[in-house]
Symmetry: C2
Subunit: 328 residues, 2 copies
């Protein structure tokens, strides 16, 4: 097997960056053996290279200068893990304009700039991958992009936010009130101090926008997706749903109804016997219906450093396989 | 986008062949638009080209001469859907020796000849794909082959046979006896007149052998997998499991225990809260644990003409993308 050196530059070294680094450390030799790719992380953009870290990084790898990554001719793939809209979007564009392939886990920057980023990838003949941006470690985008090309997608229904699914599960299983489970979720680190993005469904709308682009070939801005979160869900609502043999889940839906595409993010009652009803706590799942394959469901961890790092690393490997040695 | 003509020859036109043909008819234009591949079925090997069929096939496509497919220079991909060991294995080898890529749904012929078939693919510089051989429409092999390369697989646990899962579900949900549900399954066409392959677990052992080869890189012959079916499962056993909050499922397991690989096919008690416990009736699912991604589950239809045809067509498209125009 031909051995290829692939050098990666990371922009950002928070949870997902650390998870990506660790997933690579754990599996570098196995990846080399299986795919012939010798992947190394050449540089990592951080705010403060001198800061004490739990992981020991070789000297010279950490930098606070984005340009030293984007302009480094030895770097093949730039992995954007900064989060937020700026400067993430600009740095991805610049990386592609410099001939780098780009991998991102940043749903907000991706959904906000989908057209421009896809165009930059085509214009520069590079690849743009974002498996980790939707449902963490679950390889749903890969499935839509490859195996499910044999289908026209009729419907996608997803539980795409672990925080709200954890909260709804706790309310359902233990009859707890919204405010109490939110407090517990915050204490456990499942919810942020300002939980708006999660509980109002904005995080899910970003992910649905990306799923729609890939599955239906239609660009819908997250702000144009009718979005309702779970902040209005009381334990009484959940009890009433239960009495109808239903569970309340925060569901992202996109459906080709024949005349066009319907989409929304909102709490829905899901019958106990539906596969999505069994998706509990911090787990995510995507239920997808194709016109040939029928009903499929993909289930797994939608967040966490290693699961998300697994998805980022999967994209790096996938791009790595297509890189012709000596291209740079 | 560059348009490519891809010509396929089908060996066999039973359930899966018909499903593949129909999936392509339904989605040909969408595939062309999305991937640039213009896929057509050039020839189909059948026993009797004159037989009345529910689908109308253009004249000249049906043939009873395998050689007219294997030696046709216009055919890029040979799709083997004959079932059984012979002549399926020999025809796949011959197709690859003739420079054709091969797609198969035939778990028995694949598991029995795995090494020889993989070697023929490498020797001839062609691709061998078999997504439909395990869990029908569920794209589990594609996930292992691509997105999950970023992981070392620790464990696979699968419900891989729809017939036995239907039977166990009926016994569990309605307290029915084994013989009664077998009879109903046979009447509904879910079980064959001779159900041995399904109920004794041999069908599952073939599928597990293929999963092990791909996920762990180890060739284990199906006959070397300790295999126990469900014919000894009484409604009393199921009742006792229920009293322990468990369901009995026919489970294929392969686990890397650190020192080596453990594998078996046998009925197991699965706790109600485990995702596999919610996989009912004719559905299949594969639960997979990677060292980075953690727990994933893939759920869908493990059989049926269109779901299986979806997997066959997915493999055809995937190979088609790699074919350099003008190669033949």
């Amino acid at each position: 097997m031909i051995k290829k050196q692939i050098v990666v530059g990371l922009l950002g070294f928070g949870n997902v960056g650390t998870g990506t680094y660790q997933a690579l450390e754990m599996n570098r030799e196995a990846i080399k053996e299986q795919s012939g790719l010798d992947i190394s992380i050449g540089k990592i953009l951080v705010r403060d290279p001198q800061k004490d870290r739990s992981i020991s990084i070789p000297p010279g790898v950490l930098t606070d200068d984005a340009g030293s990554i984007l302009n480094d001719p030895t770097i093949d793939i730039v992995v954007e893990l900064l989060g937020g809209l700026h400067p993430a979007g600009e740095l991805m564009l610049q990386a592609m304009n410099n001939g780098k392939h780009v991998v991102t886990a940043n749903k907000a920057a991706l959904a906000a700039n989908f057209k421009a980023l896809e165009k930059a990838a085509i214009d520069n003949g590079v690849q743009l991958r974002y498996e980790a941006s939707v449902a963490g470690g679950i390889p749903i985008l890969n499935a839509i992009r490859t195996a499910l090309c044999s289908n026209q997608i009729l419907e996608i229904k997803g539980i795409l936010n672990g925080t709200t699914n954890y909260m709804l599960t706790q309310m359902t299983d233990h009859g707890l009130a919204y405010d109490d489970v939110l407090k517990t979720a915050q204490e456990k680190g499942f919810a942020e101090a300002d939980p708006t993005d999660d509980v109002e469904g904005y995080d899910v709308a970003n992910k649905l926008s990306i799923l729609i682009a890939l599955a239906f070939g239609t660009i819908v801005s997250p702000k144009d997706i009718p979005t309702k979160g779970i902040s209005g869900i009381t334990k009484e609502f959940i009890g009433e749903a239960k009495s109808r043999n239903n569970k309340i889940k925060l569901i992202a839906t996109a459906r080709n109804n024949g005349a066009g595409l319907e989409y929304r993010v909102e709490p829905e009652e899901i019958p106990f016997h539906h596969p999505l009803a069994g998706v509990n706590n911090e787990f995510n799942a995507i239920f997808i219906e194709g016109n040939a394959v029928g009903e499929l469901m993909f289930y797994g961890r939608g967040a966490g450093p290693l699961p998300t790092g697994s998805a980022v690393l999967g994209d790096i490997i996938d791009i790595g396989k297509t890189i012709v040695p000596g291209r740079v």
